[in-house]
Subunit: 475 residues, 2 copies
Amino acid sequence: MSATTDLPPRRGPAGQGLPDDVLAELRGIVGTAHVLTSDGDVEPFSRDATPLFRARPDAVVLPATTAEVSAVLTLATRRGVPVVPRGAGSNLSAATLAEQGGIVLVLTRMNRVLEVSSAELLAVVQAGTTTATLGDTAAAQGLLYAPDPGSRTVSTVAGNVAMCAGGLRGLKYGVTRNYVLGLEAVLPTGEVIRTGGRLWKDVAGYDLTRLLTGSEGTLAVITEITVALLPLPRTSGTGVAYFGTLADAGRAVDQIISDGVLPATLEFLDRRCINAVEDFAKLGLDRDAGALLLFGDDGAPDVVTGSLRRMADTCQAVGARDVTLARDIAESDALLAARRCSLPALARLAPITMLEDVTVPRPKLAEMVDRIDAIATRNDVVCATFGHAGDGNLHPTIVFDPTDGDARVRAEAAFDEVFRTAMALGGTITGEHGVGAAKRPWLAERLGADQIALLRRLKQAFDPAGILNPGKLGS
Amino acid sequence: MSATTDLPPRRGPAGQGLPDDVLAELRGIVGTAHVLTSDGDVEPFSRDATPLFRARPDAVVLPATTAEVSAVLTLATRRGVPVVPRGAGSNLSAATLAEQGGIVLVLTRMNRVLEVSSAELLAVVQAGTTTATLGDTAAAQGLLYAPDPGSRTVSTVAGNVAMCAGGLRGLKYGVTRNYVLGLEAVLPTGEVIRTGGRLWKDVAGYDLTRLLTGSEGTLAVITEITVALLPLPRTSGTGVAYFGTLADAGRAVDQIISDGVLPATLEFLDRRCINAVEDFAKLGLDRDAGALLLFGDDGAPDVVTGSLRRMADTCQAVGARDVTLARDIAESDALLAARRCSLPALARLAPITMLEDVTVPRPKLAEMVDRIDAIATRNDVVCATFGHAGDGNLHPTIVFDPTDGDARVRAEAAFDEVFRTAMALGGTITGEHGVGAAKRPWLAERLGADQIALLRRLKQAFDPAGILNPGKLGS
């Protein structure tokens, strides 16, 4: 989502290269064509969507079957070779970089939708199926795959599960974790396990399905996923409201939820974001507003009409400058465009776009944005914030020019303050992008030493040789 | 829910008694009045709601604070004393019996609702708060705590979390796991950790919140729970349909769900169950029907009316003998009474009531009930089945007189076949009651040797001395 740069990698240089016999064994497992080692071939796998992070793997391996994944992992554990599982590499937390060298294991060849069942309301897909393919295949049968991360057109389902991807519908529909019913996964030592299954209710054993969800490729390699689907909502609708201040928008959000509406969409843009979007896309947004609030719902037509009307009334009651309801899908899409092009609009402002991801309790949203603005001013950085108002998930975004003196240092200092502020307000350092290498320095402060020690013991229970995505969660 | 009996305990006799210095230290931690050791005092804690299982603990300890829980666990780990955490003891899988002696740690003194927030849609409660208290306190603020296990009037929230309790609303609302946002828990080695928090979106670290949910008191002692709440539905409605066969009812269920309705209630009773309920409660049920299907929904009035009408039409279309919609809450309650009194009605038939709990994929529901009937006939046992048609969760219930020769052996043989049949149909040995000691013998067949070995390693990562609920999950 952001361009990589010519900056040097932030951490560890490339690995020392794999021994010839390991490479030969890898070629024997997946076929010579599916083991990449040349500079040109591995370059795309030396970065993900996180700016400023880069690490060259010794080899990129693309298995076609679960058995091949198992054979690669067995070899890796035996020889102590790091393995970093990867789907599309669209994550924003440097979660799929081989900072200790070794193998990047790319699951994109395993990309078949194995089943969609409207009777059982579920789908079974291979790891490398894209989220959009799953969503489109389900929709063709009148079914909804609810999680909708921003990267859904390219991201893989296993990647979504590994990161517990979020999206715009979190408040009403939950996140990826709420839709994973079962997994096939390969342990670092090669065993293939099946967790959960096709059932909504199944309490036989520890909940490994949920433990693997969000484990960021550090515990096992997910090869197949069974997800829950919902009936496709019959209709949807969208509205937009402008407020003088973000505090006003925050009051509207609190009031909407206290009134008993759990809308499908409740997104905000701050003033800087509104102006960047308007510069970029000329949508006719109100440049003088302190905040823009997008609200939407889906379901039965009467319910959607009623819920949009109530939300519009609430916005008006707390003093919105202007409230508009879309009359049709085209108008809905036009309203949603403001949110959708926030990131590209901000990315135009400078060569480097650092998109961050913190969550605070919903009533603290406006206070958090105010404090982010103060932090940005104090550190002399350009920062705009948008995000998911319904679940308190904010994406403060700093843009800078890396050739501009210590701009990067100032950006990093600002984010350090942002993370600590979020925690001080009862929030967290990452709502949906993951910890990866990018947030690892703040994890101990968030979880405490006792929980970090427990994470290490859990990691060891799965991965005794420590080969799976080393340096990340559980390290 | 079922009476215990005078049968000898199925496994291990009482422990050998705790050393005097351990008892003295326990009394120092929680106060003398809160350490019970006499036969009379510990008797109620020698059994839970599971018939045929009984085990006398050496001591029952009732802490009042998290610090006391931590001190007890630290002592227990140091001295190698088994500790079995317990709430109300309403579980049906012998999950809270001290089969290896030691301490039953009862959390019922820690029973305060600490917070209900309509702005944040959450509540924070201490471990021993009853599910009904949580539900009532939330409802008083217009909020819904969605999980509704049958034992909710007595069960504790921490017990629900430890067992990942289900209930009647699973299909539409999910189970306990879907509503746990954060936990305070004490590790067996005494450390107090906080997992998750107040946020819908938080991916910092492994998902310990969900790992502890359903871990049946084998990994940590849960002391405080933060749960998500929903806006209270504005209205609800219920209907009932009779079918000639369970296969017809199953087709209706499949069709309802394929039509895009996810009802709040979709419960079934088989013929034997209908007749037992009618004998017991004289509700005017159709004794000749092969199956009774209760359907219900909640939400906005128009939606509920529409969804009940659609479900009624579907039942009629697949050949229901009779379909009735309740006209008001009183009629709804009367219809629901048939389901609510299934268990007491069956329990009247014989001294011992073994209520079981398997789940199969929803389209296999009717086949599973037919196979249960065949198994019952083959083993010469009286078995009636009711359950949650929406999520494929069945409760086959065998009643017998323990003085009747080998009745118990036949009942156990029948259930062994039932569990294996559920697994053969792609189902599981427990949908919502848990593994406990009761299902432990079938767990390896369900999960496979590799996953059982992994469960053991996870258990060890939490509980190096193996003191917490030994012999259960992870052992």
